[in-house]
Symmetry: C2
Subunit: 220 residues, 2 copies
Amino acid sequence: MIDVLVLDVNETMSDLEPMRDRFVAAGLPAHSLDVWFASTLRDGFALTAAGTYADFRTVAGDVLATQLADAGVEPTEDTISGVLSGMTQLSLHPDVEPGLRRLRDAGLRIITLTNGSAAMSERMFTDGGIMPLLEHRLDVAEPQRWKPHPDAYRYAAAVCDVPVERMGLAAVHPWDIDGARRAGLQGFYLDRRATPYPTAFLPPDLVVPDFAALAEQIAR
Amino acid sequence: MIDVLVLDVNETMSDLEPMRDRFVAAGLPAHSLDVWFASTLRDGFALTAAGTYADFRTVAGDVLATQLADAGVEPTEDTISGVLSGMTQLSLHPDVEPGLRRLRDAGLRIITLTNGSAAMSERMFTDGGIMPLLEHRLDVAEPQRWKPHPDAYRYAAAVCDVPVERMGLAAVHPWDIDGARRAGLQGFYLDRRATPYPTAFLPPDLVVPDFAALAEQIAR
């Protein structure tokens, strides 16, 4: 079916929920995590749409500074780093390791491609026991375009030296499925919470609840 | 200084706060308005970055459907329309009408350019007494690219038949200032809440607290 499985990282592999306590500790309401993540992607995509680039840490820190100031908290570099360092301490969803092991055993090449930084997830991949399963851990610093710009997916295909058509992207984010499909990849939607898929985006080639079900479907 | 002032609409001219009650009435927490607006822009920008287009109503309705389903509320078309129709019932911030009147009196041509639909704000502009001050009310349906893609701003310049350098964009959103500046326009940042300006975006040519101060600065 495909030769290379491309994995989105934030939320697709990692559980962001532990970040919520850090937002609260910094003086923000618990729900500010959700606004922060949506706004960080919004601003990263805006820069990409405008034809330029900034890294995840910069954009995410800018958004957090705005949220802190709006809440009447001084947005010091210490406070911002204290919250954002949580991104390096996350854990994998429990279905990731067994699912990926089965996919690797079936002969699939597996890589990660994140709008964050590849370094940010090193500890999570090591602690979660999947580091040896990953052929490459890529981020968008090289193409200087955030997903879902086609250059980000084409860059991954070039690194793996396969045609985009021989790649499939697995993600919980419909915007990522849509972008991957428009760039020529297959799109596998991980629908952990039975969320309606947005009508404006190209539909996925496959909808599965988790990585166990994805392995069931494509590892043969 | 400039010939044409381009106005962003949502939040820059309109106060979105009355929308909050509609989210609550639909069974969502009050803060879901903020996630909805950030996520709607995120998804519209994602489609733009991927090289395609959907209109604001479709993208905004998709995001709302996701939020409703996550909250255990059936995302019916009636519920979605009930919330989103609030966008046609908003009011102008109090500084808009006097500020624009002064700018128009000083000889500036004034237009609006929104990622929403131009029709959505008709009632607000009429009720707020500024309809006669607006030479054009544009949206991104024609260029099929959401701001901050350069095509959106270039389209406005083409309609007005002026070089982009003779235009200035006024907005409360740094991503809009950044995109306008990269497309060659001047960028005027309306900083109503004294928010730190993100470091990843090109800085504005002018920072003012509201339209009264903008008129003070550029209407001479």
